[in-house]
Symmetry: C2
Subunit: 372 residues, 2 copies
């Protein structure tokens, strides 16, 4: 692995595989890469799906590199934000696919963060029962998490990601340079997922982060450290996904902090916290529960909290939050089995276990501890 | 294979497999079978999706057998007909899944024909990114074709089956007894698909049918012949699907008669012909094109037409049909590659080939031949 470019290969069941290619200033080479991996042979048609801000910054670069490589691309700009990850936005992608006459061998490019990636991925999974998908994540969260692993989907009015499919991209194309335009709040919330990989899988990554004084803004990270973070997170996720593509027990560990996190997001109507912020809170609660259950040391939980502090992620819940609604929400979580909520709990930094023995009382108790 | 019960196993990539179980009067044993294949261990919840007529005849039998086996089932009745295979109906299945709190280990049972099977299958494929699916086909068409092979989906306002997923059921449960309530027109149109298997894969089946005097009503078929038809068709489809789950070249042969058939259905707004009738017309045209191109003998085409005559399927198109619209519609077909329409053409009874050399002129010429 060089300091400026690296490739992680995701090897799946059968002989299916795809690359996560990480290289600064690589966005302008995307068209040539598509040709290199065999796209454009049968159909030259490409549909780029993006949001207004991202497209303003990077749309022309992507459109140009595709044109130079001989592709016939059109762009669809959808409004930004989780509340637009709906059946309605999905229908717009389908309509664009129909109007541009995409064929099975055509390509959808998701140019954006998690919302664009999830929706476009789901559209690619389901249009003509599956066409080629390229993920070009432009947020740190999408780079380290949502663009890798094949989870795609949209929200149901009553729950996040309830509708979806496992569908792998042909390529994940990561240009760290695009993070320069990422808002600070987005950066911080993605750091929650980065810390997550340290806790569940990669102690070395955790230690590397612990050596930094500040983790709350991109400018405090050297190019090398940023590259290492992107590489190690992609590698961690690829390893987990390769071993367990469709959410058996292993893949479930990626949901560390997410069980309670999702409930917090949902109960606060996805307005108060973004995904990463909620995951950060979920990790604090899961860690505290693990300590209470005697599974994890208080010292390591303190190390986790210290790292979260360096990112300046929120560490408290509104005093008037509806705790009963959080508990109820946990019961409708996708990860529920036989009516029991399954928690991912740390046992050491770099290692977690699954437990369905977390009591409602224990959850409530630890929610109360972090009320503002 | 006994005369009254038979099982065809569909073996897929990896170690995935499922059974197509064919047995008269078996509907009442469905609950026990679900337990036998390991469902109900984690979640007892089942959502039965059906249409009003089918549910009136068989709903109680299914609800009772599930209850007796300890399942917690609710039913959702959706309006019958291709025009209801929409995003709107799909949303109703999602809402029922949410209200009944289906978990990943819960089950959706599709109790009905192709429309119910396709929609429920797609809902099962996409709810929580995939839950268990049982196909209980109640039409001959669904038994020999749509319930087997994992194609699921809904229609886009501008085209049939444009939105969908490949998703395999855990079981296909075929009780030929339920065909007693099948309308004659439905029976006939399914016979088009039965004849299709004879042409593309199973000469013995073709010869067996050719020995019958009449094929236009269920009552002309002995129980043995009906069973043999169901078994041989399921076997043919299972063999093709096992070798090619996701529509490479081999699976494409299942679309014999469908290329033009879909276009005819679409141009006549899905009102004049049902699916099987359109496929029958498509087979007549594909056969005639194959003869014109020197790929097939006129004598065997005559045998195909003779068999279609025995089913009393329509053999002519309205004189004022919009031929240009049919040609245009072919260009948006899912099977289009590099802008070329791919035809499946017979070379002998039991054998077909793929061709992208069929000219528009040849299509038009053969459409004209069967104008009323």
């Amino acid at each position: 692995m060089s300091a400026t470019s690296a490739t992680v290969t995701v090897a799946l069941e059968g002989d299916r595989r795809y690359d996560i290619a990480i290289a600064a200033h690589s966005l302008q080479n995307l068209g040539a890469k598509l040709t290199e991996i065999g796209l454009g042979k049968k159909s030259k048609k490409v549909l780029i799906v993006s949001n207004p801000v991202i497209y303003k910054h990077y749309g022309e670069t992507v459109a140009t590199t595709l044109k130079n490589a001989g592709f016939d691309a059109i762009s669809l700009i959808l409004p930004a934000g989780e509340r637009f990850k709906t059946a309605n936005s999905l229908q717009k992608i389908y309509d664009a696919a129909l109007n541009h006459r995409l064929e099975r061998s055509s390509v959808i490019i998701a140019l954006g963060g998690g919302v664009i990636g999830d929706m476009s991925g789901y559209a690619a999974a389901t249009w003509l029962r599956g066409i080629n998908l390229i993920q070009v994540p432009t947020s740190l969260l999408a780079m380290v998490d949502s663009a890798i692993g094949g989870k795609t989907g949209i929200n149901h009015p009553q729950g996040k990601n309830l509708i979806g499919a496992f569908y792998q991209p042909s390529l994940v194309w990561v240009d760290p340079q695009v993070l320069q335009t990422l808002p600070t709040r987005e950066f911080r919330s993605a750091m929650a997922e980065v810390i997550k990989y340290g806790i569940i899988w990669d102690r070395e990554l955790f230690d590397l982060l612990a050596q930094c004084d500040r983790l709350d803004q991109l400018r405090y990270l050297s190019d090398d450290l940023l590259h290492t973070i992107l590489y190690r997170c992609a590698k961690a996720k690829a390893e987990v996904v390769a071993k367990d593509e469709k959410e058996g027990d292993l893949r479930a560990i990626l949901n560390y902090g997410h069980t309670v996190g999702h409930a917090i997001e949902s109960v606060t109507n996805y307005r108060l916290f973004n995904h990463g912020e909620a995951v950060g809170l979920g990790m604090i609660i899961a860690g505290a529960i693990a300590v209470d259950m005697g599974l994890w040391s208080a010292a390591e939980q303190a190390q986790q909290v210290a790292l979260i502090t360096k990112t300046r992620l929120p560490q408290t819940l509104p005093a008037d939050i509806d705790q009963a609604a959080i508990i109820d929400c946990l019961a409708t979580d996708k990860k529920v089995e036989a009516g029991k909520v399954r928690f991912i709990l740390p046992t050491a930094i770099g290692q977690v276990t699954l437990s369905d023995r977390v009591t409602t009382e224990l959850i409530n108790q630890n929610l109360r501890k972090i009320l503002a």
